[in-house]
């Protein structure tokens, strides 16, 4: 049973990872990030449940709270980019390099 859960969370994690690295739009990458966090939370929750440790479950809750905070900040930054009139593309942000 736990193998299935790990497979799912692993696959979700890799999917999110692919989204972050391959997609060009910022929002799509943002989705990828959240996907990775959720996958990890899933695995954590499952392990906590299986081992019967409340500590793990509390951890999942806190992780989700932190992810939420991150999302807020992330979205404000992406919106700032959008409002500044520049395309919210990863490649558009190339001014700083070298």
């Amino acid at each position: 049973m736990s193998a299935v859960v790990w497979a799912v969370s692993g696959m979700l994690f890799l999917l999110g990872l692919a989204a972050v690295v391959l997609r060009r739009q910022l929002l799509a990458m943002f989705l990828g990030l959240e996907l990775m966090v959720v996958a990890a939370a899933l695995a954590l929750g499952h392990e906590a449940g299986r081992a019967g440790l409340a500590e793990g479950l509390v951890a999942v809750l806190l992780v989700l709270a932190v992810a939420a905070a991150e999302a807020v900040v992330g979205l404000t930054l992406v919106l700032r980019v959008h409002w500044s009139g520049r395309p919210t593309e990863a490649d558009a942000l190339r001014e700083l390099r070298g």
């Binding site: 954590l44 991150e70 001014e95 700083l96 070298g98």
Partner: protein
């Protein structure tokens, strides 16, 4: 006793809330007095500093514990925040609050007893940083903050997955080593996140952009405060590992030192040059952590790591502050500064000599201690590579000094262009520029005086080299 442990964090949180309260009180018509927010924040940090200095050693409640390493590095990043708050261009109340938030995160990392606490601390210290970077309206700052956010969150996610794997093997979130491949794999991911925060080479590409785009004093805080917390995080995690990670860490350190030094050679923008130099110094910190971990967490190696971070605080912090005070941004502007403004040139030269590790400065003592511990830990070849990295770093540190003293001053245009940034700052409050200049000079003097610090602090680490 556990109460004492929470006190610094509590004070910082109170400070943050009170700053926000002041902010709310201000109506558009009546802006809050510029120094008030910063003043309250600074007081909070100072109080936290004093309290954490008094915290007794090695308290071990389940969630929080504070050992010598954590406590001492806490001093470093709290102290790193002081110049930032002092020098930060006064605006609304949000930036001081963000700084306090980041400090809370770092304090959590320092005092963390469990992986969960580590993760929360990690995130809490990074998120405010993304916003602080985005503070100035310029497009470069916005771009940097976006890059920083995405890279930082990715690292956070990696950490989380690592934590999950570790949890599955150890069935507990405590800071204890987990047997079996899964545990090691989890630990590897977590260490990758820590290396990301520290700016180790393959994961460093975000760092130069962020340091270049943000204000110099903020970049100074990142290079000293954030890096110290990241080093502590790496140390905590490296402590858990049985062996495999420890064998690659010194090589990663050597690679980081060499790569940072080589790329910094040809940088023309000063902040970007200091960014790559901070990557090189991160390599030395990794070397110190590797030596600490391989010697069974010997207290002397912990002392070396602490002293390196403390010395780096004054060197790098001072250098960035100098950029803030002088307003220069590119290397050409430094040409001939020795004749035009000898005092500033002298201060920067002392800081650069310290960063390069030339003897009469604390930088040398720091590098010597790291070499000393690394040799005792048997990391011979990475040590020689680190030495060559130091030689390469001499290329640009001395190069800057050479430009300042041995070259003819550039045409008036470049100097004047550099000067107006200063003038705008100066025109607003001449005494602020003067105050900041005095602060930078103080940093320079400290980097020279601190050379004796290892010997003073030696007693603290149960006999240092014994």
């Amino acid at each position: 006793m556990t109460a004492m442990l929470w006190l610094p964090i509590a004070v910082l949180s109170a400070g943050a809330l009170s700053v926000l309260a002041i902010g709310m009180g201000a109506t558009p018509g009546r802006p809050i007095p510029c120094g008030l927010a910063k003043g309250v924040a600074a007081a909070a940090v100072l109080l936290a500093l004093v309290l954490s200095a008094m915290t007794p050693e090695a308290v071990r409640p389940p969630l929080l514990r504070l050992d010598m390493l954590g406590g001492s590095i806490q001093l470093v990043f709290l102290a790193a925040a002081m110049p930032l708050l002092f020098v930060m261009t006064p605006g609304d109340e949000v930036p001081p609050a963000l700084v306090l938030g980041s400090l809370i995160g770092m304090a959590l990392v320092a005092a963390a007893g469990s992986l969960l606490m580590l993760f929360i601390g990690l995130e809490l210290m990074s998120v405010p940083a993304y916003l602080l970077v985005a503070r100035s309206r310029s497009t470069r700052a916005m771009e940097a903050s976006v890059k920083y956010f995405f890279a930082g969150s990715a690292a956070g996610a990696l950490f989380l997955m690592g934590m999950a794997l570790h949890f599955s093997a150890a069935h507990s979130l405590d800071l204890a080593s987990a047997p079996g491949p899964l545990g090691e794999a989890g630990l590897a991911l977590m260490i990758a996140a820590a290396l990301f925060k520290l700016g180790a080479v393959p994961l460093h590409f975000w760092l130069p952009d962020v340091y270049e785009a943000s204000d110099p004093e903020l970049a100074g805080f990142f290079s000293t405060g954030l890096k110290a917390a990241a080093a502590l995080l790496l140390a905590r995690l490296a402590g858990l590992s049985q062996g495999p990670i420890l064998s690659i860490l010194p090589w990663a350190a050597a690679l980081t030192i060499l790569f940072g030094a080589v790329v910094a050679l040809r940088q023309q923008k000063l902040q970007r040059l200091l960014a790559y130099s901070s990557i090189s110094h991160a390599g030395f910190m990794m070397l110190a952590v590797a030596a600490w971990a391989r010697q069974g967490q010997a207290s002397s190696a912990a002392g070396a790591l602490f002293f390196y971070l403390a010395a780096y605080l004054f060197m790098s912090g001072g250098a960035f502050l100098w950029l803030k005070v002088s307003g220069f941004s590119s290397r050409e502007q430094l040409k001939g500064l020795g004749r035009v403004r000898p005092a500033d040139a002298a201060v920067l030269s002392v800081l650069l000599l310290a960063l390069a590790g030339i003897p009469p400065t604390a930088g040398f003592a720091a590098k010597f201690l790291v070499f000393w511990e690394a040799f005792k830990a048997g990391l011979y070849v990475p040590l020689v590579l680190a030495g060559l990295g130091a030689l390469l770093s001499l290329g640009y540190y001395l190069g800057l000094i050479r430009d300042m003293y041995f070259d003819e001053p550039m045409t008036a245009k470049v100097i004047s262009e550099g000067r107006q940034d200063l003038d705008t700052a100066a025109s607003s409050s001449v005494e602020a520029a003067l105050g900041q200049r005095a602060l930078v000079a103080a940093f320079a003097v400290l980097t020279v005086l601190l050379v004796v610090m290892p010997w003073l602090v030696d007693g603290l680490w149960a006999g240092g080299g014994r």
